[in-house]
């Protein structure tokens, strides 16, 4: 009877999965998932999946209770947590919360956005050595002794020598019969990747813009993690100058001042040069900004940096331009102008939260 419930349970999970998929756009636009991320899973709040029935609406008409209190006394506990006059919290009415592994979420994302699997860069593929037990040999440690083979050997020897009949079928292996498992090292391709997030934190990037970056980064992480065995993430913020920070700071830092994008590219380049030799790593720099740069001169410098130093090393360079009230959005035009047909540079315009999904598709849709 336990197996049968498993079937029903699996079917239910399928329905849940379908529901996540259907509402993926909403889940992406609404950043609440990020706060619910655990080590390997994310909890997704779903509208209760249920069988609809003709039934009474919310119980605004009140009801009956038992206990102490005078007329006028509230009965729903502390005021905190009530929020916006939402009542009707009858038993069993809470939202459905389902836990989905990040892998599963990435798969759903991939299916829904029709993302191709990433082809790790061919010639620069990194290989790792692993041991596979494939053969048999005559010497080895006792822990690897192959009992069946050993006894087969012994049996053969005994029969051949005629001992088998005489001893009445008792087979005793001698040291010469011993067989051990043996291994051989194999090279398997393994791909590691590093994501370098760069974000403009100058005064013109407001909270809303940063939130968009945060959400987008979450989904990029989720997807790339599903594609690579091991993934590292580095964070760079910049205004007029760039510095490397940790994840929390990256999303929460508030700076003001001007913008010199070249500073970030320089830092990114030096991070890659120091830690991530391109022969061994798949490298993904993502840069988010509202598109304002200090000067045309700096922009020119950025383009040089990209062309000369970054692009030769990376899988793809992604630039996401988050629309803000103050940003001119010029930088994207400059990039597009400078690399009109270059597969290695992907630029995307993110007008608002609803644009995140399209932008993810643009960044990751090429399978690079």
């Amino acid at each position: 009877m336990v197996q049968k419930i498993d079937l029903d349970h699996t079917r239910f999970r399928q329905i849940v999965r379908g529901s996540i998929r259907r509402d993926l756009r909403k889940h992406i636009a609404n950043g609440s998932l990020i706060a619910r991320r655990g080590e390997k899973t994310v909890t997704i709040p779903l509208p209760r999946i249920q069988i609809p029935r003709f039934r009474y609406g919310s119980n605004e008409g009140g009801g009956v209770g038992q206990g102490q209190g005078d007329p006028g006394d509230p009965i729903d506990g502390d005021e905190a947590g009530q929020g916006q006059g939402e009542a009707g919290d009858k038993a069993g009415e809470h939202e459905l919360e389902v836990e989905v592994s990040l892998e599963e979420l990435a798969r759903i994302l991939g299916e829904e956005l029709e993302l191709p699997n990433i082809q790790p860069r061919g010639k620069k593929q990194l290989t790792t050595e692993v041991n596979r037990y494939t053969g048999i040999r005559r010497v080895g440690p006792a822990s690897l002794r192959h009992l069946k083979r050993t006894f087969k050997r012994a049996l053969k020897r005994e029969i051949a020598s005629g001992n088998f009949e005489r001893s009445g079928g008792v087979v005793v292996p001698v040291p010469d019969d011993m067989r051990y498992r043996s291994w051989e090292p194999r090279m398997i391709p393994e791909s590691n990747a590093v994501i370098v997030y760069m974000m403009d934190v100058s005064g013109s990037m407001g909270d809303e813009q940063k939130e968009i970056v945060r959400i987008e980064a979450f989904w990029i992480d989720t997807w790339l993690k599903s594609q690579y065995k091991q993934i590292e993430t580095r964070y760079v913020v910049h205004d007029a100058e760039a510095k490397e920070v940790d994840e929390h700071t990256f999303f929460h830092l508030r700076e003001s001042g001007g913008t010199k994008i070249s500073s970030a590219y320089e830092l990114c380049e030096s991070i890659i040069a120091a830690d991530y030799p391109p022969e061994e790593w798949n490298i993904y720099p993502f840069h988010f900004s509202d598109g304002d740069n200090w000067s045309g001169g700096d922009t020119a410098r950025c383009l040089d940096l990209l062309r000369e130093r970054l692009l030769p090393k990376v899988n793809v360079f992604c630039y996401g331009q988050v629309r803000s009230t103050y940003g001119s959005g010029q930088f994207k035009n400059d990039l597009d102008g400078a690399f009109p047909n270059d597969d290695l540079v992907i630029t995307s315009d993110i007008p608002d939260k609803d644009g995140i999904m399209g932008s993810i598709k643009e960044f990751l849709g090429t399978g690079q």
Partner: protein, 495 residues
């Protein structure tokens, strides 16, 4: 798994104690299960085998989660069947097992003796297993997806039954399908009394006969109402009148049978739990408890009696009502003389030494359901002693607030929530609306509106079965309205 010896002995002992109090039950079979099995069985409403459907998976998901987060634990699970089956959780302490066994025996007594359970199938365990097989077979023949989708639709309507109909003789339906509009077989004739020839024109005046004939013709030109009178057993109406294929009809009939089987449990929640709690408490405290177990029992019992603010706990209300009834009939606190007594002091110490409490509660458990139970025994004095109150949502403060402790109002509200098993009363009134085969349901509005979002979704399912546009007439915010769904879009119109 069957019980270990120690528990089997305990079960025999408790069974004998229960019998000695006069409880009368089906043979009861206890199964020992792990928590995972318990959660499974609970998801299946207590039955070992149900048809495949995702809602059981969902129930299992929720039960297992809330168990593993330590939010809830199912102690007791018993099904109305002959023999009764009940489940004990492996690893529970001895005092818990005692409590559960005692509680279960009282439930079994209630299943066997309460009149509202009389029409239920006592071999439901077999019946449900056979439903499972049938539905699986339909799935193999028709495609599991189709059967699941159809089941979803049936389940969405499974509260559209006439829960009181098993207790009155079945009214035969005039089983004619309105879609082809057959003529009634026999033509009605004007009534003509017997009379001697010379009296004929006086007793059967030609003018009157002619009038009658015209009336009949007129009535015949009017299409007959279809159904003849409003019907509350909408599932039956659909089974007989909707254009269903035979496997669909079979699935619908199974859903309907199950709905009728489970309905009495909704009708007697307070009584059933109250009765079981009353007896476990008596048996435990009078006969079964070791002195060392008293504190644990008290904790468990009070846990079961806890009230959530603004909600009724059927265990607590039920046990208190039964105890109150027993006391009143023990002390003769009922009848004209008692009711008319104005002296509070006399009333408080009223005791005629009648001693018929036990007899009375057995009678109550036999013939009452929650509605009649509350209606008859929820007295002013009880409301006061049980500290009952009414509450309402206050839009100004955004909170639920106590509005008062008037017994009349308490009773009204409570009864309203219990009426028709807590489900809105909906009937099918027209199966050939606008002479286009459209279906009209009417909601008998009693103060509370339907949940609109759900109603819309439910109408989709209804349309799936009926295949022609469907309507429901109801009241929304005090105005009579008709909600319609034609297979593509929803519409709302004033009536």
């Amino acid at each position: 798994m069957s019980l270990p010896r120690e528990l089997a002995e305990l079960q025999r002992r408790i069974r004998d104690v229960a019998s000695s109090y006069g409880l009368d039950f089906f043979t009861t079979v206890f199964e020992m299960v792990s928590w995972a099995e318990m959660n499974t069985v609970a998801a299946y409403d207590g039955f070992p085998v149900r048809y495949p459907h995702w809602r059981f998976g969902m129930a299992f998901d929720q039960i297992s989660k809330s168990y593993s987060w330590g939010l809830s634990k199912i102690y007791e699970l018993v099904i109305n069947n002959d023999p009764c089956y009940a489940y004990l959780l492996r690893g529970n302490s001895m005092v818990d097992q005692k409590l559960v066994i005692a509680h279960v025996y009282a439930h079994c007594d209630f299943f066997k003796n309460n009149l509202w359970f009389a029409p239920t199938n006592r071999h439901m365990i077999d019946e449900l297993a056979s439903h499972a097989t049938r539905i699986q077979r339909h799935g193999q023949a028709e495609g599991h997806e189709d059967v699941e989708t159809f089941l979803d639709s049936c389940l969405s309507l499974d509260n559209m039954i006439d829960i009181y109909s098993p207790y009155s003789p079945r009214r035969p339906r005039n089983g004619k399908n309105g879609h082809n509009g057959d003529e009634p077989e026999e033509r009605a004739k004007p009534v003509r009394f017997e009379a001697k020839p010379y009296m004929e024109s006086f007793i059967n005046p030609p003018k009157f006969i002619e009038e009658q004939r015209q009336e009949i013709d007129e009535a015949r030109r009017q299409p007959a109402a279809y159904p003849e009178r409003p019907e509350r057993d909408i599932l039956r109406f659909l089974m007989e009148e909707a254009p269903l294929r035979s496997w669909q009809r079979d699935v619908l009939s199974m859903v309907r049978d199950e709905a009728y089987y489970f309905a009495p449990q909704r009708l007697t929640k307070i009584m059933n739990e109250g009765w079981a709690s009353y007896w476990h408490s008596r048996m435990m405290t009078e006969k079964l408890l070791d002195p060392s177990e008293v504190v644990d029992f008290a904790e468990r019992h009070s846990g079961a009696m806890a009230v959530q603010p603004g909600q009724i706990n059927p265990y607590k209300l039920g046990i208190e009502l039964f105890r109150n009834v027993e006391e009143r009939w023990d002390k003769g606190r009922f009848g004209k003389e008692y009711d008319e007594c104005d002296d509070l002091d006399v009333k408080r110490n009223w005791d005629t030494g009648l001693g018929r409490g036990r007899e009375k509660i057995f009678e109550v458990r036999r013939i009452y359901n929650d509605v009649t139970f509350v209606d008859e025994f929820l007295t002013d004095g009880f409301c006061e002693d049980a500290k009952m109150f009414t509450w309402e949502f206050n839009p100004k403060t955004g909170r639920k607030e106590i509005t008062g402790r008037d017994c009349r109002e308490i009773k009204d509200k409570l009864l309203q929530s219990l009426a028709n098993g807590g489900q809105p009363v909906i009937e099918v009134t027209d199966g050939n609306f606008r002479n286009r085969g459209e279906l009209v349901l009417s909601h008998r509005h009693d103060g509370e509106d339907l949940d609109l979002g759900q109603a819309g979704e439910t109408m989709r399912h209804l349309h799936h079965l009926w295949t022609r546009p469907v309507h429901i007439e109801t009241m929304l915010e005090g105005r009579p309205r008709r909600l319609s769904f034609d297979g593509e879009s929803h519409e709302t119109a004033d009536l």
